[in-house]
């Protein structure tokens, strides 16, 4: 989806942090992207490289940490691996699964100077 606007939101977060923390260069960014979050990682990398041109994050390396999907079955309460949003619970066959991990889209840490 809209990876370019997500990249713009990332840049806003980084620039806000730069103003608050007084750094002028971002060397590396760690972020978590869940497999169920519908972010296309290559498109995000590309969008990011476009929006950071001429900013504090111009040379930043993007370290994307992949988060696998996990869910809890609403019927039998077992915790299961989730690869698609239409997975049935392997234990009871129910489709009512709460996603507990795999929707992440967040910046967790930066290396700055």
């Amino acid at each position: 989806m809209h990876e370019l606007s997500l990249a713009e939101s990332m840049l806003q977060i980084i620039e806000d942090a730069a103003a608050e923390q007084g750094f002028t260069r971002v060397k590396k960014i760690w972020m978590e992207v869940g497999r169920l979050s519908c972010v296309e990682k290559d498109a995000l990398r590309f969008g990011f490289s476009v929006v950071v041109d001429g900013t504090v994050a111009q040379q930043a390396v993007l370290e994307i940490i992949d988060i696998a999907g996990r869910g809890r079955c609403e019927r039998c309460s077992s915790e299961i691996a989730v690869t698609t949003l239409y997975d049935a619970c392997p234990n009871c066959g129910s489709y009512a699964i709460d996603i507990i991990r795999g929707n992440e889209m967040r910046i967790t840490e930066m290396e700055v100077e």
């Binding site: 989806m1 809209h2 606007s5 806000d16 923390q21 949003l85 239409y86 992440e104 290396e111 700055v112």
Partner: protein, 275 residues
């Protein structure tokens, strides 16, 4: 010009006027707690923990929209679908059925043109067109501006017709009470599985253009089964916007939601008075 804001893009137009790009700081953004690991010389590398969701800012705008709507007892419904499923046709019919009973306003989102807003205004209700330019979705910041411009009435309904796109509007909370996904029978049964995020994000699905079923090999039961795999609690109504079938059930659903919005408003007022 902007009372609430932070982001926005200079490609976005609200009723033909550019939604300004904001460069100002956001003091409220200081929420994100940042721990400096080794704050020493400015030129020495240091690690900064930040833990910030990429859509956190959108979600804050959405929350403030939701707060405003709750205070005024306004029901906001966000209509999402692929292009051409019949959102505007359905809205026009819905407005005709409700406009004598309730005040209604509409926010139209499209990449280009204000044709849909013009179709809505022809019914007599006020409509605001947001043109997203290259953007493929509406976000909560644009909606906040649009809400300020519309002078909304107490206990009214605000419909949003999102940009025709089954993908990314799913990820953006606008502050709406519900996302309503419209799927037309000419699009194929497999859409809930192919675009599961949208069907999971929605609380109601309108299966539109049912008048065309005799001419198609579209399997309604299979579509419903697929939609319920992705979202077991999804409520589904079969409609034809052009023939009017199913519209009374949809209108009942809306009226029921309006009562909920009014109850929320009363609770809100009470909690403000007691708090």
């Amino acid at each position: 010009m902007c009372a609430t804001c932070g982001c926005g893009t200079d490609q976005v137009h609200v009723d033909g006027k550019i939604l300004h790009h904001h460069d100002h700081d956001h003091p409220e953004d200081a929420h994100a707690h940042m721990h400096v690991h080794c704050a020493s010389d400015m030129n020495v590398s240091r690690r900064v923990k930040i833990e910030r969701a990429i859509l956190a800012q959108n979600d804050r705008y959405a929350q403030s929209n939701r707060q405003f709507l709750a205070e005024h007892g306004i029901l906001m419904l966000n209509l999402v679908s692929s292009p051409g499923s019949g959102k505007t046709t359905l809205l026009v019919e819905t407005i005709r059925a409700l406009q004598n009973a309730l005040p209604i306003a509409v926010i139209e989102g499209d990449q280009q043109t204000d044709q849909d807003a013009a179709r809505i205004r022809a019914t007599g209700v006020s409509a605001l067109q947001i043109n997203t330019g290259k953007g493929c979705h509406l976000d909560a910041h644009m909606i906040g501006h649009a809400m300020q411009q519309l002078t909304l009435q107490e206990n009214s309904i605000l419909f949003i017709e999102n940009v025709g796109n089954l993908v990314c509007p799913a990820g953006f909370d606008l502050g709406e009470a519900h996302k309503v996904v419209i799927l037309s029978v000419t699009e194929g049964e497999d859409k809930p599985l192919k675009y599961p995020d949208m069907f999971r994000a929605a609380d109601l699905m309108l299966l539109n253009k049912c008048d065309l079923l005799p001419y198609l090999s579209f399997d309604v039961n299979r579509t419903i089964e697929y939609a319920h795999r992705v979202n077991p609690s999804l409520h589904i109504i079969q409609v034809s916007a052009t023939q009017g079938t199913g519209i009374p059930e949809w209108i009942n659903w809306i009226r029921n939601e309006c009562r909920q919005a009014a109850i929320t408003q009363v609770k809100n007022v009470h909690s403000l008075q007691s708090g």
